[in-house]
Symmetry: C2
Amino acid sequence: MKIGVLGTGIVGSVIADKLVSLGHDVMMGGREAHNEKGQAWASKHPQNAHYGTFAQAATFGELLFACVLGTKTLEALEMAGDANLNGKTLIDLGNELDFSTGKPHIFASWDNCLAERIQNRFPKTNVVKSLNTMNCYVMVNPSLVQGEHAVFMSGNNLEAKTQTRNLLKSFGWTDHMIVDLGGIETARGVEMLMGLWVSLWGVIGNEPFNVGIFRKA
Amino acid sequence: MKIGVLGTGIVGSVIADKLVSLGHDVMMGGREAHNEKGQAWASKHPQNAHYGTFAQAATFGELLFACVLGTKTLEALEMAGDANLNGKTLIDLGNELDFSTGKPHIFASWDNCLAERIQNRFPKTNVVKSLNTMNCYVMVNPSLVQGEHAVFMSGNNLEAKTQTRNLLKSFGWTDHMIVDLGGIETARGVEMLMGLWVSLWGVIGNEPFNVGIFRKA
């Protein structure tokens, strides 16, 4: 399908690479019409890979991934434009982090959920929060981590969650690993998980890891 | 050993029961000298079980568990008194939640960590955050959940964490399940995990569950 990937950083590149490898037609979108990273990304794929502005990528995609840093997501979506987002599934991978002081600062809280704010601002877009709880290499290759670890989905629209589930399965996630938490408000806890992730990263380092859910014996 | 358990609710009762069953001498502490729940708890054990005020339980214990609702922990510790807390290990199980509106509200955030505030207010007490990320039956009986799920520890004092580890192991946790995240500041993410817990509880219900860490394949 035609997919727009908003964001030209490492997360956007890894997601867009995977989508192209799966045969999708992908436009990566950035702030400027001339973006070196975006153009370099598109040029490395012989076909099915394009670069444009946020608005062009949103127009292009039947489904969209938001892969910008969470603190910039709403700004990027404003640049993408309501008309280009309406009626589409938007899979939001954002985490609101600030590393500018050298130490991470995490903005997610029960009262400050990025995915909820996106859904409120763009009520005609079907926002699904997913994939924000692991590094991007694990997102597109869950077998890097051993066992039945988890990827979460939160969203109000069932069809959008089915689309997301099917994409996740094409990335290698099984139904058993995909945990549908419910409506978009459940993204609160999923975004707050970044607090634990940062501490685990401090203990484990750059090796792949993820959380998972264990059930009754 | 002599252990004080601050809190007469379900978490305090389950922890105190387990400690008595392991042969510890336990005083449960509450706000009032005459507390029906605390006195009923003590009376159901033929020996090694006592009830008193927060100050009496803090005085009694060589090591303390804080099992009050997180929003009341600092108040309970003020009542316990600095002099009775100094030099002791305090294992904090608190989560700052409000259910008074019918829907849960979670106060934990990167800027609002209960365990850090306890440690700052009582600098001579060795605070360890642990066990707050699961229901109390799983805390004292991890085999209710299948597999190598996780219990986290955060704290600045290594000896206090060794004491905590040994108690956790006596509850049935293995070294592999115990994840020492580092200093007390890592309790931020552990407290923020309550956001995900509430959503998982919505999906799974009252059956035992827990999170765990999956490592590289």
